[in-house]
């Protein structure tokens, strides 16, 4: 598995810090290790086959505001998906960094719905539990999901509490000041917002076909 990049191990220019002796690593990929249908599966789940028409131009990476932090640029993730490098794609930090700003989607010269591809990969990774235990992004997503699932509306105060309890409890104290400011200005409350007809929601969500995102074996 490819580890997540951490800024601590990098110097200012983003290149690995010098002075450490590098290990020699043998790199080869055998076709039999790949999931050759992966590209088509993801393409289908992410609205259409356009993913397969990628010309590897790198527009997505260059327009992405977060690509500086990614272990693989979005272009490389698309290449991995297309060629069946499933483990690498799902383990990449890239999919979690995507903030859904849709720059890549509107600029892609092949009109690939890259943001939808990233969503699809996130769901695939969550379904396979392929993310570190205290990793905040999927936890935030899950927390949001649960709150909305239960009450029909989000409550930002509750959500933050949820996030910090499950990732790094110490951060609560780091951010208390901000929370207090927001509370004082009437911009945050820990009261739970709810809709009236919660039974609607249960019916709707209950009717979703259960076999949506089964991980591919």
């Amino acid at each position: 598995m490819i580890g997540f990049l951490s800024t601590k191990h990098r110097n200012k220019n983003g290149s690995p810090s010098s002075g450490r002796i590098k290990k020699v690593v043998r790199r080869v990929k055998y076709e039999s290790e790949l999931d050759l249908g992966f590209g088509e599966t993801i393409a289908e789940r992410a609205y259409g086959q356009k993913l397969l028409s990628c010309i590897q131009c790198g527009t997505c990476s260059a327009t992405c505001p977060l690509s500086y932090y990614m272990d693989f640029t979005p272009r490389r993730v698309i290449a991995m998906v297309r060629e069946g490098f499933r483990e690498e794609a799902l383990n990449s930090f890239t999919i979690w960094l995507c903030a859904s700003c849709y720059s890549c989607t509107v600029q892609c010269p092949r009109q690939i719905h890259i943001t939808d591809v990233m969503y699809t990969l996130k769901r695939e990774a969550i379904a396979r539990e392929m993310f570190p235990r205290r990793y905040p992004i999927p936890i935030l997503a899950r927390g949001f999901f649960d709150i909305v699932h239960r009450n029909g509306r989000n409550s930002e105060g509750r959500l933050l509490l949820y996030l910090y309890l499950r990732t790094n409890i110490l951060k609560i104290f780091q951010n208390t000041r901000l929370g207090l400011h927001l509370l004082r200005r009437g911009r945050m409350s820990v009261r739970q917002e709810k809709i009236h007809r919660k039974e609607d929601l249960r019916s709707i969500l209950g009717a979703v076909s259960p076999t949506r995102e089964e991980p591919r074996s």
Binding site: A141, V148, R153, L205
Partner: protein
């Protein structure tokens, strides 16, 4: 002009000033907003990361309620929050474009006794102001010309991408045009649609804060007195993390970040209490009041 109004969760908490100022400004322009009955969360970006079909069902409940609420003509929902605007538009679009989405949503809604036929138009306040109200009508209401005020319009990402058709997805101008009709000068800056990182400032601090640092520094470099925005999350990120940004990156930034509707309200002479100005962390009134012919701090 009458529209259905979908505030969304953010405008009920961190984005309260947006909600308040938008209602005040729209009322001043003679636009009637009716809050959508018992609306629920749009699902935002996070929900789709867990279960996309549920996300569509969730968003579609709002569309179904809207369709039932209006009997004469196609219903129009005004969604001021970028995430809500995007998710509702996306649901509407995918409902039209993809059979499996349409079938899934129809079935899910049916379970709750709801129907949706795909007739709702989801629109952003900027779209309404530019195309339905028009700049002359806005200019007519201006009592305090914002002369000499340098404003950076910050659209963020999801209001113009990927589905909105009312403006350019990478170099929009609608908010700039509104600001100019208030008498303000707009700065031409290249980051007006660059992402603020959304929830990353809460999850991956370095990435999220860095994006906001870039936005703030560039807005200042281009000579902005303040930033106006149309998204609650952008406003929150840009404003509330300034202290941390200053600390982490050794900056000395104190740049007022307000909703574009708040500045409109001030220009229209609406009392600041109705615009939620006091809810902001960085008071914009000194900057605005300092201007010759600007708004005195006591309005």
């Amino acid at each position: 002009m009458k529209y259905l109004y979908y505030p969304g969760c953010s405008l009920k908490s961190t984005g309260r000033p947006y909600d308040e100022s938008l209602r005040a400004v729209f009322a001043a322009l003679g636009i009637e907003l009716t809050e959508l009955d018992d609306w629920n969360c749009c699902g935002a970006t996070a929900y789709a990361s867990i279960d996309e079909n549920q996300a569509f069902g969730l968003a579609a409940r709002n569309l179904a309620i809207a369709e039932a609420a209006v009997t004469d003509g196609p219903p129009t929902i005004v969604a001021p929050c970028s995430a809500c605007f995007l998710v509702l538009t996306k649901t509407q679009r995918y409902f039209e474009d993809y059979d499996h989405v349409r079938d899934g949503v129809t079935r899910e809604l049916a379970a709750a006794g709801l129907t949706y036929r795909g007739h709702v138009k989801v629109r952003h306040p900027l779209d309404i102001l530019i195309h339905d109200v028009g700049l002359p009508a806005i200019a007519k209401l201006v009592q305090h010309q914002m002369k000499g005020l340098h404003v950076a319009s910050y659209y963020g990402c999801q209001v113009v991408r990927p589905f909105a058709t009312f403006d350019d997805p990478l170099y929009p101008t609608s908010m700039d045009a509104i600001m100019r009709s208030l008498g303000a000068e707009t700065v031409d800056w290249p980051l007006k649609t660059r992402c603020c990182g959304g929830s990353l400032s809460g999850t991956i601090k370095e990435a999220g804060l860095r994006l906001n640092q870039h936005l703030l520094v560039e807005a200042l470099r281009k000579g902005s007195d303040l930033v106006v925005t149309c998204c609650p999350l952008c406003q929150f990120n840009l404003e509330c993390f300034q202290k941390q940004i200053n600390k982490n990156y050794d900056e000395r930034i104190s740049l007022p970040i307000m909703y574009f509707t708040q500045l409109m309200g001030l220009a229209f002479g609406i009392p600041e209490k109705e615009l939620g100005i006091r809810r902001l962390f960085i008071d914009p009134l000194p900057v605005i009041g300092a201007l010759k012919g600007g708004v005195p701090a006591h309005v």
